[in-house]
Symmetry: C2
Subunit: 383 residues, 2 copies
Amino acid sequence: MRVLVYGAGQLAQMMYLAGAPLGIEVEAVDVNTETLVHPVSKLPLEATLAQAIEAADALTVEFEHVPEHLLEQAEKSGKLMPSMEAILVGADRVREKALLDNLQVANCPHRIVTQLDELDRCLQELGDKLIIKASRDGYDGYGQWRLTEAAQLEDIKASLSGLNLQQVPLIVEQMLSFDRELSLIGVRSKSGEIKVYPLTENLHYQGQLHVSVAPAPGVTQAIWQQAQEIFTRLAQGMQYTGVLAVEMFQCGDTLLVNELAPRVHNSGHWTNSGSDTSQFENHLRAIVGLPLGDTQARTPAAMVNIIGCGAFSRDLLSIPGCHLHWYGKTVREKRKMGHINLTADNYQQLGNKMAQLAGYVPSEAFPMLPDEAEKLSKLTEKP
Amino acid sequence: MRVLVYGAGQLAQMMYLAGAPLGIEVEAVDVNTETLVHPVSKLPLEATLAQAIEAADALTVEFEHVPEHLLEQAEKSGKLMPSMEAILVGADRVREKALLDNLQVANCPHRIVTQLDELDRCLQELGDKLIIKASRDGYDGYGQWRLTEAAQLEDIKASLSGLNLQQVPLIVEQMLSFDRELSLIGVRSKSGEIKVYPLTENLHYQGQLHVSVAPAPGVTQAIWQQAQEIFTRLAQGMQYTGVLAVEMFQCGDTLLVNELAPRVHNSGHWTNSGSDTSQFENHLRAIVGLPLGDTQARTPAAMVNIIGCGAFSRDLLSIPGCHLHWYGKTVREKRKMGHINLTADNYQQLGNKMAQLAGYVPSEAFPMLPDEAEKLSKLTEKP
């Protein structure tokens, strides 16, 4: 079988590696050049894009910001999964909010703004702690503005003045004081079967995901129930096929959806070590029509992103249960270069291993490790 | 980093898949054409063999029957691991027996025969139940003759008469009544660190491995101790680097070494699902000088070979903990087409899953499943 992935980064690479044992050949599309490349070596492949679409059993994406004319071409083949509509929900916060509201899925109080002077009314209605996001192309901390007191409004308006808000509206959200960010990665088959991984807790630093821990500690039955209901409502509502990631804020006993990613997701990378079937394999199984694999966590796991950093001792591999995933890219500031998966028998041991890991990597690139290691090493909860 | 593997079959493919996350690029050598191919797609690569040897950080083999002039060229580079000597031990039973005897590792009573009339003395000294093997190119049941009563000797002599026994001597072994075959897969680093996986029990049918179960049930402390000592003596004795597989017969409380494979091994394929670090990853880690990974079994696991069969329902993937490894080859009788890994929380569950699996595959190609499933499903032992 053949699967064509739009995007040729690490997610396409990990899909390729998951597909090969199943006899699924994954090819990647460089969406800038509109040519085919090998998902691991990035070397050009012989076929044209049109030929590859023809030959593929399924088409999918590794990121939501695929140029629309390519998505349209893919959708026309009848083999794009998830659908173009679902992908655009991930790419456009206006569509995303509309979907959440239509499906009555709780999310942050927000307004959609198409003219700058509407911001004053947002302040009146939502309060003076706001996050303002461009509705498109926002990604990992870029294209966001934070307003923490009314006096900042004029400065923010000035920096927004160059934007065409008719074309790309703003989403203005109430800044919530949430307890933590959780994500739920799940998968829906063509026939509607749904399986979800355990909730993952995500730790960010300067707008970027640095550490994920799964199963998220301290998840009550009520939260777990809510998360599953949210996932089911979204996946069914979109008639979704494949892996879908739902980012949520936990505020006490309530989950509010923050963002959807219509694809395999960074906060699901731990599944390569900590669960029986990785998110990559399950995504492929779903879109080519194979039965879904087990999504339970085998053991507690952590995923640590390697960001803007290439120099660290490979001796970290001497930690039992430590696995490196290196993406083979040129080092750039803030760039995701790879990640490290850790598994352990329990949270305490996971914390101890994370503390060990911190000894092998430069602390400035891994600022979240020491505190999280300490927190985990004190947990007596059984996962 | 780059690793060049002599041989372009499924073992090279699985090394490629294990290497990519570590940033290790694995290339394969088709030893017939002496050209480079991609280990998964088998498409030709641009470099020549000489260039690839030059560019590689390490050279290794996926099978021991690599033409000697290629091994010599590889050995000259100083990067071949394991060494040519260790590889030839796996390819030549005369060398193998000499090594076992030199290192005082228990093995089957045997004689080396270079003239047909020596067979009569073998009968006198070893008894009239014998296995006669060509010392080279014997592989998976081919090139073996069985003598179960003295009267057969003349017929066997006749069928051996075409062989050049001076060049390729015969190994004549006493046919032992052993309890079972076990293998120990382990790995030795460049610096001499050794890690071994748990013992694996192997079930053969018509000379081919059909099912492996790990950890082998019912292993006493004495057997486990012996296995580790045997592995250590062999790996240290050869100054071995990489994964080494030791096939042994268990006769009561004693282990006798049957065969060595200087490479990743079919009976270690379960490590992809049942242990933290697969044999493929550990082989690569060893030969490029990375720390070895954890070799403990996470759960009981079984590996089921798919032999000479391509038609089976992919719905077997609906069994939780079931993973397919398909090699993408044309179906031929007796050919290893792929394998299926199963994991479970305990042996009973493993047996139940194996019984489920038997429902998805043609029984004539998987003759060992029903009995083994039943046996496992009755085991109360904790792995």
